[in-house]
């Protein structure tokens, strides 16, 4: 298994977990209570920290391995980044439009939505790009 493929697979798992955790956690707690209590803030911070630490550890562990990054790897990464960027933009756009449609009449939204958009965008971008990389490697195999 190629080191780049392995890295993408681990990144998919880490940021996929983070993405779905944030979504589920937010759905359960709700926008009003989200981040309002200390315990919710600590849990969210711990999960985000765990994902980030996992990512850094994975980068450090695969750093010393013999790494060949050839033209096929470059092409796969380029394609994954391009499609990933497009999908992330679409995700943010649809999310914001949905919020606008839902809260248009009220004129204000809970500030926790902004926190959620920020972290979800970050997690989604890493998740979708690495997932696409894994998919493109799998297709070529």
């Amino acid at each position: 298994m190629n080191v780049n493929y392995k890295r993408s697979l681990i990144t998919t798992c880490l940021f996929g977990t983070l993405f779905f955790y944030l979504l589920v956690h937010f759905a359960i707690v709700g926008p009003l209570k989200f981040q309002s209590t200390r315990i919710h803030m600590v849990i969210s911070a711990a999960v985000i920290l765990a994902a980030m630490l996992g990512f850094i550890i994975m980068l450090l562990m695969t750093r010393k391995k013999e790494k060949v990054f050839d033209e096929r790897d470059q092409l796969i990464q380029k394609q994954a980044s391009m499609i990933g960027l497009m999908l992330t933009s679409m995700f943010v756009f649809v999310f914001c439009i949905a919020l606008f449609v839902n809260y248009r009449d009220r004129g204000v939204i809970e500030v926790s939505w902004v926190w959620l958009i920020a972290y979800l965008t970050f997690a989604f971008a890493y998740f979708i790009t690495s997932l696409l990389t894994v998919y493109l490697y799998k297709v070529d195999e």
Partner: protein, 70 residues
């Protein structure tokens, strides 16, 4: 007049076996990964002209012998 080729084919596996080379050997000599050589052999990835020339050189063959179209 022959019709234009639609897909790229290659004889890498045949020529490689003739020279007693593994995919790993060919990958190391051309400075790419074994997975890339495997993908080229299976016609799932079309290499750049530079990599195609490198492969032909290592396989001691003309580029037209290694790569073709059908």
């Amino acid at each position: 007049m022959n019709s234009l080729p639609k897909t790229l084919t290659n004889n890498i596996k045949l020529l490689r076996i003739k020279l007693n080379l593994t995919q790993e050997d060919l990958a190391k000599k051309t400075n790419c990964s074994r997975q890339t050589i495997n993908a080229i052999e299976k016609n799932k990835y079309s290499p750049s002209l530079l990599l195609a020339f490198k492969i032909s050189y290592i396989l001691q063959s003309d580029i037209n012998e290694v790569f073709g179209g059908e």
